[in-house]
Amino acid sequence: MNTIDIIKPENLVYTKPKLMNDNPMHYCPGCSHGVIHKLAAEVIEEMGMEDKTIGVAPVGCAVFAYNYIDIDWQEAAHGRAPAIATAIKRLMPDKMVFTYQGDGDLAAIGTAETIHACNRGENIVIIFVNNAIYGMTGGQMAPTTLQGMKTATCPYGRTPELNGYPLKISDLLVKLEGTCYVTRQSVQTAAAVKKAKKALRKAFENSMAGKGTSIVEVVSTCASGWKMTPDQANKWMVENMFVQYPLGDLKDI
């Protein structure tokens, strides 16, 4: 007997989206990826686009996104997801196509692909998980790493002299005529999760309406990479990340 069987339908207030399968997630406790995956799955399901959606997974912690959301996927080379998504959408315009990328993937090695896909106004959704660190490779400096933040490759703290400045790439993408919606969200509270879901829904709807490229940046935690407990990571994110990366819609046309 599973949970749904013992709860009367009228009393059911929450359930796992059908598109999320039962594979144990490889994400660390406190990581934001799990929630963001769930939101993407919910939106796809609620739009009734399960059989028309193709996701493009990145290289980084979300490389195995395709193990958790039960849709067709393509796994991209590092940074190349927007180029791959471009071809999928152009060749199959009736499909719903999104990339799911981290900060290193999107804002370092894949900067050119990101900017040019957005500048062409590809009708795709880019879900951009910004946790200011390279999680999968063990906590190295990312383009979005904050000033003074310590990582494996800036062990004494990031300095502008050595490493330049934290890259606010969503702010750059706002300037491009091809983008229709650029928003910065988070998922550390129930209220934030609700907002983030609304943003994702809007982004996916934009892509099917042919309005151009939508970018949903989710400012996220990496408790392991930041060497904090999940609770500390959430607090640190609110106090530090949100200062550098303020939440809200940056562009919505």
Binding site: W73, A76, R80, A83, I84, A87, I88, E113, H116
Partner: protein, 393 residues
């Protein structure tokens, strides 16, 4: 429909052939000496007729990844570039091979290394047939020697790519890309329908219906035991390709005393060399590998039994000669002649080098006749070189 005979450049023939084959998408980035491929496609504007997508990407890296994305949907997609650009594409080609996707890549070679020259070269042989990118993989490699073959190998390349779910490459050089010849264009065939794609490529990521498992296009497998199994499967496929797909042309090889082995434009130049040799009483045959991988090793080994020596002529410092030497197992002298950096030799120069390298004595009084078919004339080569000299990289 009657045959359509046209006069055009090799690069243009590739573009026409792609549209006519029912290609779904071309993704490219400009680079000399192959820009006419995308330029011709943009003029043909097939998105208005067949529905083919043609897109100029921001880089060769993006273009090859667009090919990955399209191929992952079971679509018939291609890209083209020239040597420095193809170096950039190697990452994507490795991923395409690793994910077992069918795709066609065209390399119109120019002289390297580095930015090199825009003049013709065959110096990317190693890169193409020995791997190029990382990992144990192979690319089916077709070497056209005429504008007609440029057109024909689009279909052949796609057919082989889809037969084996493997990348295929047309490896030509600036001469074959730029020279104009007569060509019979293939008839139009429609693009594959969604139903045909599902039938041909059931693994494609086209949106998951409720009644099948999700399709994931990936080359990733972290479990080494599984990854070894994948690699063993690849190797089995490569073996099958080596057994079934070798193609070559043998000209005057049956009663030859010496052999020239050359591919692409070099072979066309050497056709004339056979006639020069015959005038001096020497029977020389020409073996032209059409598939560079799989390499015609068995055929070369057989023909080598009947001759006294082999000259390998390439527009490089000696690359294919290594495969020839492996094929004949050092049973006879195998020498190399090549010009570098974009210089193209003339047929007589090859003959002088051949006599010297292999110690061939001649007797003009015993002149024989040989017909080795239509070679590329000196005039045509000089026209190509002159045209290229007016281009910028």
């Amino acid at each position: 429909m009657s045959e359509e005979i046209k006069l055009m450049k090799g690069n243009e023939a590739i573009a026409h052939a792609a549209v006519r084959y029912g290609c779904d998408g071309y993704f490219g980035y400009p680079i000399t000496p192959q820009s006419e491929i995308m330029e011709t496609l943009m003029v043909l504007a097939p998105w208005k007729t067949t529905g083919m997508v043609v897109l100029q990407a921001e880089s060769e890296v993006a273009a090859i990844n667009m090919v990955y994305g399209g191929a992952g949907c079971g679509k018939t997609v291609m890209t083209s570039s020239s040597s420095p650009g193809v170096s950039l594409k190697q990452e994507g080609i490795s991923y395409i091979a690793g994910a077992e996707l069918p795709a066609l890549i065209v390399n119109i070679m120019r002289g390297g290394p580095g930015l090199g020259t825009i003049q013709p070269s065959q110096a990317d042989y190693f890169q193409t047939v020995k791997g190029g990118g990382h990992g144990d993989y192979r690319v089916i490699t077709l070497a056209p020697a005429s504008v007609q073959e440029m057109a024909d190998f689009v279909a052949l390349g796609f057919d082989l790519a889809f037969k084996y779910n493997n990348p295929a490459m047309i490896l030509a050089d600036g001469i074959v890309g730029q020279m104009m010849e007569k060509v019979i264009l293939p008839p139009f065939q429609p693009r594959k329908t969604d139903a045909e794609i599902k039938e041909r490529s059931p693994w494609a990521s086209v949106g998951k219906p409720a009644d099948r498992k999700r399709n994931v296009i990936t080359s990733l497998e972290l479990d080494p035991a599984e990854m070894e199994k994948n690699n063993i499967r690849f190797q089995k496929k490569y073996k099958e390709i080596e057994e079934n797909e070798v193609r070559y042309e043998a000209i005057n090889c049956e009663d030859a005393d010496y052999l020239i082995i050359a591919f692409g434009s070099s072979a066309r130049i050497c056709q004339k060399t056979l006639e020069t040799a015959a005038k001096e009483g020497v029977k020389v045959g020409l073996l032209r590998p059409i598939t560079l991988w799989p390499f015609p090793s068995k055929a070369i080994k057989e023909y080598a039994k009947k001759v006294k020596g082999i000259l390998v002529m390439e527009l490089n410092a000696g690359q294919m000669i290594e495969d020839v030497k492996l094929a004949v197992e050092c049973s006879l002298p195998v020498k190399h002649y090549g010009r570098l950096g974009g210089i193209v030799p003339d047929p007589d120069e090859v003959w002088v080098a051949m006599k010297d390298e292999l110690g061939i004595a001649t007797d003009p009084s015993s002149s024989i006749k040989a017909n080795a078919g239509e070679s590329i004339s000196k005039e045509m080569i000089s026209e190509v070189i002159t045209n290229l000299n007016q281009m910028v990289p």
